[in-house]
């Protein structure tokens, strides 16, 4: 197994980041977005601003419409009401397709493509010649802990490695906004912790904007500049919590007083919602 490289990081990110998220025009703005499916209101009047370079995590009880939110941002579904603004322009669902890099919960690797060719699926669809695409992917392999595995097929890889191939596919598709839907949900907690630190490192280096769905409160706090807590049906943004923890973040952070404070605030908000989804009436 190759080691994930977690290089020493510079604290440069912090200062720029806080500034970015408070000033300038948002890269994505959801205004009054609602979506219904038959009798169920999946999203109701959702308002979110996402700024360049931000890492935002979304957390909420199951069935709170997180996936619907992602599908709308990815352009896979159109909202019934409200508008989506991307880089300052109002866009319909079709206008968002191909504009954000989307990573679903499952890796959805193609079993007939090896690691290298799975990673380049998205940029190949864009029209990058295969040889050139492979060359780009090859240079990224070590960073994703996949060096030497370029000729392996998905069934020969562990769950963590498959997830890294899927992440690499997402990163290679160079869009400013990345949507990650519980990418580490299926991994054991040790691998997950490693992957979180590694993701932060990659994010720092590639300077992308991330919207990240998770079920895990620790994960939500550990990664985020801002945590959005969603309410149970109908899905709304119930709480927006800025996380003012220093970066780079290490494992020791998880036991710090500040972290625990954030956790208590989020747990409280989340518990209320979970109770509601148990007894909706």
């Amino acid at each position: 197994m190759p080691q994930l490289s977690i290089a020493p990081t510079s604290p440069a990110r912090d200062s720029t980041n806080v500034k970015d998220s408070t000033s300038g025009e948002p890269i994505l703005r959801l205004a009054g977005v609602s979506k219904r499916f038959a009798q169920v209101t999946a999203l109701d009047d959702v308002n979110i601003d996402i700024h360049r370079g931000e890492f935002i995590t979304v957390i909420g009880p199951s069935g709170c419409g997180k996936s619907t939110l992602f599908n709308i941002v990815a352009g896979l579904e159109a909202p019934d009401q409200g508008s989506v603004m991307h880089k300052g322009a109002t866009v319909g669902a079709k206008g968002l397709l191909g504009q954000v890099s989307f990573m679903p919960q499952q890796d959805l690797l193609m079993p007939w493509r090896n690691v290298l060719d799975n990673a380049i699926v998205a940029i190949e669809l864009e029209g990058t010649p295969r040889g050139q695409a492979r060359q780009r992917a090859l240079t990224m392999l070590p960073e994703f802990g996949l060096k030497g595995f370029e000729r392996h097929y998905p069934h020969q890889l562990s769950g963590g490695m498959r997830q890294r191939v899927a992440l690499m596919r997402t990163f290679l598709f160079e869009r400013e906004l990345m949507l990650l839907d519980e990418p580490f949900g299926a991994l054991d907690s040790l691998t997950r912790t490693m992957m979180q630190r590694w993701l932060l490192e990659i994010w720092r280096r590639h300077r992308r904007t991330v919207l990240f769905i998770t079920h895990d409160i620790d994960e939500a706090i550990f990664l985020a500049d801002r945590v959005l807590v969603m309410s149970a049906r109908p899905g709304k943004v119930k709480l927006e919590q800025r996380i003012e923890l220093p970066r780079p973040r290490g494992t020791e952070l998880v036991t710090s007083a500040d972290f625990v404070h954030y956790k208590r605030v989020l747990l409280e908000a989340l518990e209320e919602e979970s109770m509601k989804s148990f007894a909706p009436h």
Partner: protein, 253 residues
């Protein structure tokens, strides 16, 4: 990676064939089963050896009819499957019609096809085609319908066009189902070609079957049956090789 255990099934098959041949030979020569019921393998092979030309010509002819029908049926069936999957209206209108068309036995159409296409190779290929394309259509349709919609969503989010999604995702993903259909189609196209020849022709394995039946020539009859079995097995093996090559990523049992 070919290991010894990987070759084992072939070894077993060959042993089984040899054993069957021995039982056949022993029962016809030593137990005194009359030639009329079961001629010995030795007389069948010596017949093939003495008069090879009608058998070779028949084999080539029937094989061509079969392959033409199978090829065209596969191509048309694939297109049908993709079109019916894509257009729901078309599926609702045409699928019942196709099902009904398959309930009419091919024999009923045979005479008509011969009148349309003459006593030619094409007439038999058309019959083989008619028997083949439906199986391919249905299996393609099933394969396409079974694809996880999230896979399609992912490619759409990357901005893929419907054509790109079809070629890069849907067809490869439906590959195993399509090959299941293709294996069935091999047997169907062979019967189509053989039966098609019964409507009138001068060469072909079907013709030899018919002639030897009228002449009560069991040796020729058995020789023809063995050749038909050989043709079917070869075509089946060919499809198997193609499947292993194209669907190398499929887990094998």
């Amino acid at each position: 990676m070919k290991s010894l255990t990987g070759m084992l099934p072939y070894g077993r098959l060959i042993l089984l064939l040899i054993a069957l041949g021995l039982i056949w030979q022993v029962s016809s020569s030593m137990l005194g089963v009359p030639d009329y019921y079961l001629p010995g393998l030795d007389s069948i092979f010596s017949m093939l050896h003495r008069h090879p030309s009608p058998f070779i010509a028949g084999f080539v002819r029937t094989a061509s009819e079969m392959l033409l029908g199978l090829g065209a049926g596969t191509a048309f069936g694939l297109c049908c499957g993709v079109a019916l999957h894509r257009f729901v209206m078309l599926r609702q209108m045409l699928l019942p019609l196709l099902v009904v068309s398959q309930t009419v036995p091919v024999i009923a159409f045979g005479a008509l096809v011969v009148m349309w296409f003459g006593n030619s190779l094409w007439a038999k290929a058309v019959i083989a085609f008619y028997l083949t394309f439906f199986t391919i259509t249905v299996n393609t349709l099933a394969g396409l319908a079974a694809i996880d919609p999230r896979r399609i969503s992912l490619l759409r989010s990357f901005g893929a066009s419907p054509g790109q999604i079809l070629l890069r995702l849907q067809l490869p993903m439906a590959g195993p189902a399509i090959f299941t259909g293709l294996k069935l189609a091999v047997a169907l196209s062979l019967s189509g070609a053989v039966v098609g020849e019964w409507f009138g022709d001068t060469t072909g394995l079907g013709v030899l079957l018919l002639q030897s039946m009228y002449n009560e020539d069991t040796v020729t009859l058995w020789a023809t049956i063995l050749l038909i079995a050989l043709l079917g097995s070869l075509a089946f093996a060919l499809v198997g090789v193609l499947e292993r090559w194209l669907l190398f990523w499929q887990p094998r049992s």
